[in-house]
Subunit: 234 residues, 2 copies
């Protein structure tokens, strides 16, 4: 037999525990402590939804943008035009939150066919704090290279979407070519950074929501990890 | 003129805002998004205290240990005895929380004289989840290298403290020699990892509470970032 008070107490404690557990899981995601994962933990579904739809995600995005901006402004750029800031696209410049809102915020296994349909609509909104940083680094004189795991086939829709979202100019948009499709993002992106360095560019800043945007070889002088508790790309 | 309800609402909102702001700050710390910092934000004093003294820190430490253990167990080690796990010491194996509890949990600027007195007492307790991981990797057959920013002069007290805390054996204990004292930790630790690789060792795992333990050159195959919202070492 159970007493109502006891049930209530258990329920409250369980909520607090869940908050603790899911915050800890999010910390493990953001620090890259986890093994590759395919979906968010079932019990953290509401937590992740509340975070990305609420102020937590916004505040985190704003902080990353501000910190990156302070760093960018602190640098003395060379006159040779070889100083580069690298941006990832999805969940870094463009937000696919409208798609993920319809697909359980990471609870569902990634469906590339459905996601491609969303990409081809070309309506992903800008992540506003990233747009602010983007304009700042352009104004400071950085070369801006966009390095995305999207396919070369999606070049024109990606260009269209970025432009519509307010990203008006860039120096390179590097997408995955046919020979890159089987490479993990870390390998693909490291190879492309290696090429930049070969060509004499200096990668001073790098913004991405995945560690596969930021780690690997030829890393940027400083990397800025945007939050993303919804999915993992190796 | 202000109405009591309004004041109360403002106060509640301000607490919620503070929680949001300090959690966001903690994530920025743990993802290495911040510029070098000397003290925690004044307004996050209570937040950091509650986190490190409460269950949040414990749960996070346990998760890092568990994830690292799963990875360690998944590896097939070679027979040549060259597979290495690197551990940092302070806030990774040993906890200086008793010291920081007496010094504002990061609110005070680091005082090397006072901290050294604490180190020479040799009473820092083990971080229990790390001790569990430590024993696991030893049992799995890893070589265990301790790589710490502590001074060579502190070798004997460090050995004594580690032993007393339950860390019973290791293959190397690498401390800062006189020529290393002016090097940032990232440089010192990268050089030491470089030497390990030169000697034919394979660094498969690395546990540390600072990004300067984990990033730089010759990084480990996988790195595990332990939480530390109290101080920053470049």
């Amino acid at each position: 037999m159970q007493y109502p008070e006891r049930i209530e107490t258990r329920f409250e404690k369980s909520n607090e525990e869940l908050e603790l557990e899911c915050t800890s899981w999010r910390f493990a995601v953001e620090t890259n402590n986890l093994s590759p994962w395919k979906t968010i933990p079932e019990q953290c579904g509401s937590y992740v939804k509340d975070y990305v739809m609420g102020r937590g995600y916004k505040v985190d995005l704003e902080r990353v943008s501000t910190e990156a901006g302070i760093y960018a402004t602190s640098l003395q750029l060379s006159a040779d035009g070889k100083d580069v800031w690298v941006f990832d696209v999805d969940e870094t410049l463009l937000s696919n939150l409208p798609y993920y809102a319809d697909h359980g915020y990471g609870l569902e296994i990634f469906n590339p066919v459905e996601f491609d349909k969303w990409v081809y609509r070309g309506v992903a909104p800008a992540i506003e704090p990233s747009l602010k940083l983007y304009e700042k680094v352009l104004n400071l004189g950085f070369k801006v290279f966009l390095l995305t795991g999207r396919s070369e086939k999606q070049r024109s829709i990606t260009t269209e979407n970025l432009t519509k979202a307010g990203f008006r100019s860039w120096d390179k948009l590097i997408l995955r070519d046919s020979e890159d499709h089987d490479k993990p993002a870390t390998v693909f992106k490291s190879e492309k950074r290696s090429k930049m360095v070969e060509e004499g560019y200096r990668i001073l800043g790098n913004s991405g929501d995945q560690w596969s945007d930021l780690s690997g070889s030829f890393p940027s002088d400083r990397s800025f990890k945007l939050p993303n508790p919804m999915y993992y790309i190796p």
